[in-house]
């Protein structure tokens, strides 16, 4: 019937350029739309507006100097990027098993805190763009409290730069467990308030249900990972599929959706926040005492005190700083579960103090390429929740 009308009325398609500086295309991306009224007939996605040459930068610094750059990939969950990079370098060095248990647990805690912060941000921003301004502020406050914890550990809220090859920059502060406990209590209240405002809200359901849906098969063929893949019904989580850090020791569930639409993505993220809290609480109870750095001066600098006292330690300080830690020839890739999906660094070393090649596998790159697939045929307004639940982070996607 619609086709008949079109023939009669001789309508034209409207070409619309959405972005890169459109309120909804945060992270700077451009959608090239052809609209029939409000319906999307054709959609092209253009990325690259935030390209800063991250990978090339890494090749020009030492292995350690890449950490601050990794912070700026997915800046909502910086510790996870640090961890993913550190794990890849440690695999090249062959020291994966020698990392002290305390460092491993602290890394796990930081990863999960980052996941919480990222989900809070994503869900808050998503609801903001659907017009629910109060729910937005509730989760932003929860995120700020989570960032307070991260700040207490490493002094930075956003760009943590906390993980090092072979260990950590610093140990946990005093009273950390108590701080986490009090923040989690508050965040659970925010969570339930947010849940009450939205999960059963008819308008919200109408906007999220059956929009941006992708089938299980399509999700796999588009190389989806993370919450978006799990929302489509695939129970795949790197933390379970190939456990790294301390994920083998802790107990947690993977929420899985059925329809692959925006509402399932929302529900999966909401539940993952709870699971992350569970993981952090378990890690805190299991947290062993001991050193936080590998006992190998050629990988991780000896302490400043030693450096000022012993000649060998001082030499290592010089060598590690000026030449960089010496990584043997080879290549490595360690998959980790980033907030949006599989995050991994593919590193190639030709020997020496600098990476020969550093390639990051950003989860949202794969998700963004399916935007056209998910939005074509739906309404212009459906781009908003779909793009929000994809959670494109420009820093990560464009690198």
């Amino acid at each position: 019937m619609e086709d008949k009308n079109q023939l009669d009325l001789n309508t034209e398609l409207m070409v619309l350029n959405m972005g890169p500086s459109h309120p909804a295309t945060h992270g700077t991306v451009r959608f090239f739309l052809k609209l029939d009224g409000e319906k999307i007939v054709h959609m092209e996605t253009e990325i690259g507006y935030l390209h800063r040459g991250f990978e090339k930068h890494c090749e020009n610094g030492t292995w350690t100097q890449a950490f601050p750059y990794t912070d700026r990939l997915n800046y909502c969950s910086a510790p996870q990027n640090n961890v993913a990079y550190a794990l890849a370098v440690e695999k090249l060095l062959g020291v994966t098993d020698k990392i002290p248990a305390r460092a491993v647990y602290i890394r796990t805690i930081m990863c999960e805190l980052a996941r919480m912060a990222d989900h809070y941000t994503n869900l808050a921003a998503g609801t903001l763009e659907l017009g629910a301004l109060t729910a937005f502020i509730y989760f932003v406050e929860a995120r700020e409290l989570t960032w307070d914890i991260i700040e207490s550990v490493c002094g930075a809220r956003l760009t943590s730069n906390y993980i090092r090859v072979g260990g950590l920059a610093s140990d946990l502060p005093e009273g950390f467990a108590g701080h986490v406990k009090s923040v989690f209590a508050k965040n659970r209240v925010f969570w339930s308030e947010f849940d009450k405002l939205l999960t059963h809200n008819r308008i919200f359901l109408d906007r999220m249900r059956d929009t941006g849906a992708i089938s299980r098969e399509d999700a796999i063929s588009f190389a989806f990972t993370g919450p978006c893949l799990r929302a489509a019904g695939v129970e795949y989580d790197v933390r379970k599929a190939s456990p790294y850090l301390a994920y083998r020791e802790v107990d947690f569930d993977i929420p899985v959706g059925t329809t692959g639409d925006n509402f399932d993505r929302y529900l999966v993220r909401m539940e993952e926040i709870n699971q992350s809290m569970r993981i952090v609480e378990q890690c805190l109870s299991l947290l062993p005492s001991g050193p936080i750095n590998i006992n190998d001066a050629s990988v991780r600098n000896p302490s400043k005190e030693d450096g000022h006292t012993y000649m060998e330690s001082m030499i290592f300080h010089f060598k590690n700083t000026i030449e960089g830690i010496q990584v043997p020839k080879g290549e490595s890739y360690v998959p980790t579960e980033g907030t949006n999906g599989e995050l991994g660094f593919y590193l190639v070393s030709q020997g020496g103090g600098k990476p020969w090649k550093c390639r990051v596998r950003p989860p949202c790159f794969a998700l963004t390429q399916a935007m056209g697939h998910m939005c074509t045929g739906s309404y212009l307004a459906d781009i908003i929740p779909t793009f929000d639940m994809i959670n494109l982070i420009g820093g990560e996607c464009d690198r």
Partner: protein
């Protein structure tokens, strides 16, 4: 059809004075009090809801007055902003659109009574600017005029986003005006009048308030009113995440402020209509109109007593209006927004049939009662 009694009668001067005073009062309330202060209320109320502090930085000699000065700074800022007209825009229409938007919102208030009738020194004061017997029809007519402002603004801006916003306004207003008219037919049937003063007097008895006699009509009307007001959850014509700012994307400075003001004024008008139709207008529950005048007459003498009663009624009316504004803002800050097709579906497939059903049911009940 028209009732010309509101025009100057033989005692010309008192009538003219009364008329001028009423117009000045309503204009002052709307333009000088509500339009700017609502901006402040919205900021502070949303801040309260969201555990924030809200705007509190603008100061004169160290006095911030609870952030009220932000209103003045906003006005100043908008006054000095560049009045930008995009290339290729239709200049005359681009100029005209904000005026078309703001004037109807203001003049719609003319038929809304903000008090009853009072005898002052032998002159009857009727607290409504124009006591038209077509009352609500006039409001509908004027309200539909304001649609043109948005549609023309969207079209004249030469911007795809504005155009989409303008189209959405057109479609949304058209759909909801039909439904809005029908939701109120029940009210007119119950009170037997379109004249808002008559409806106001008919609500003297607390249990004869519109909300009790027309509960479904009230719910449907508030839905339509929200949609007419173009605020969340019906703010799709200006949905900032989709259409940037919709039909006023290309407006700046005072012309932008006029669109902004028209939205607030519409909110005041809608609240006033809600109060006049469903919440007893100026009436105080369980105290009759004449009862209060008589009681005050005993205390202060007939003329001053009438003035005191009048002031009480006016205050009661505005308190009710302000309560409704607060409720409308609560809705605005709590709910997400619909999608365009969902708004249309709600209007045509739910509100309209329910409004028709309401008319039929009201008719049967009226037949049964009489």
């Amino acid at each position: 059809m028209f009732d010309y009694t509101y025009l100057p009668s033989p005692n010309l001067l008192p009538s003219l004075v009364e008329m001028m005073l009423k117009i000045i009062f309503i204009c002052t309330m709307n333009m000088a009090v509500f339009a700017p202060v609502l901006g402040w209320v919205e900021r502070k109320q949303s801040a309260l809801m969201q555990d924030r502090i809200g705007a509190n930085r603008a100061e004169i000699f160290g006095f911030t007055v609870f952030g009220l000065l932000h209103v003045a700074t906003d006005a100043l800022k908008l006054l000095f902003k560049e009045d930008f007209i995009p290339r290729g825009a239709d200049r005359p229409l681009h100029y005209l659109a904000p005026f078309i938007a703001v004037v109807p919102a203001l003049v719609a208030f003319a038929v809304i009574p903000f008090g009853g009738k009072y005898m002052l020194w032998g002159h009857e004061a009727n607290l409504v600017i124009a006591d038209l017997n077509v009352g609500m029809l006039y409001i509908f007519a004027v309200a539909s005029l304001s649609t043109y402002g948005a549609v023309i603004g969207g079209w004249a801006s030469n911007n795809s986003w504005s155009l989409l916003g303008g189209l959405r306004v057109g479609a949304q207003m058209l759909s909801y005006e039909v439904a809005m008219g029908l939701t109120l037919v029940g009210v007119f049937m119950v009170y037997g009048s379109l004249q808002l003063t008559t409806i106001g007097m008919a609500q003297e008895n607390f249990f004869h308030w519109g909300i009790f006699l027309q509960p479904l009509g009230f719910i449907l009307f508030i839905t339509c009113a929200l949609a007419e007001n173009k605020r969340t959850p019906f703010d799709i014509p200006e949905a900032e995440s989709e259409l940037i700012a919709g039909y006023f994307t290309e407006y700046s400075g005072l012309k932008f402020a006029m669109f902004w003001m028209s939205e607030f004024l519409e909110m005041v008008t809608i609240s006033a209509v809600l109060v006049a139709l469903f919440f007893g207008g100026w009436q105080i529950p369980f105290i009759s109109h004449q009862g209060l005048i008589d009681a005050m007459g005993h205390l202060f003498g007939p003329n001053f007593g009438a003035i005191v009663a009048m002031l009480i009624h006016v205050v009661v009316f505005w308190v009710k209006v302000i309560s409704w504004i607060v409720i409308l803002m609560l809705i605005r800050w709590s709910l997400p927004r619909f999608r365009f097709d969902q708004v249309m579906r709600l209007g045509w497939k739910i509100v309209l049939p329910l409004a028709l059903a309401n008319i039929v049911v009201t008719g049967f009940i009226l037949l049964a009662v009489r």
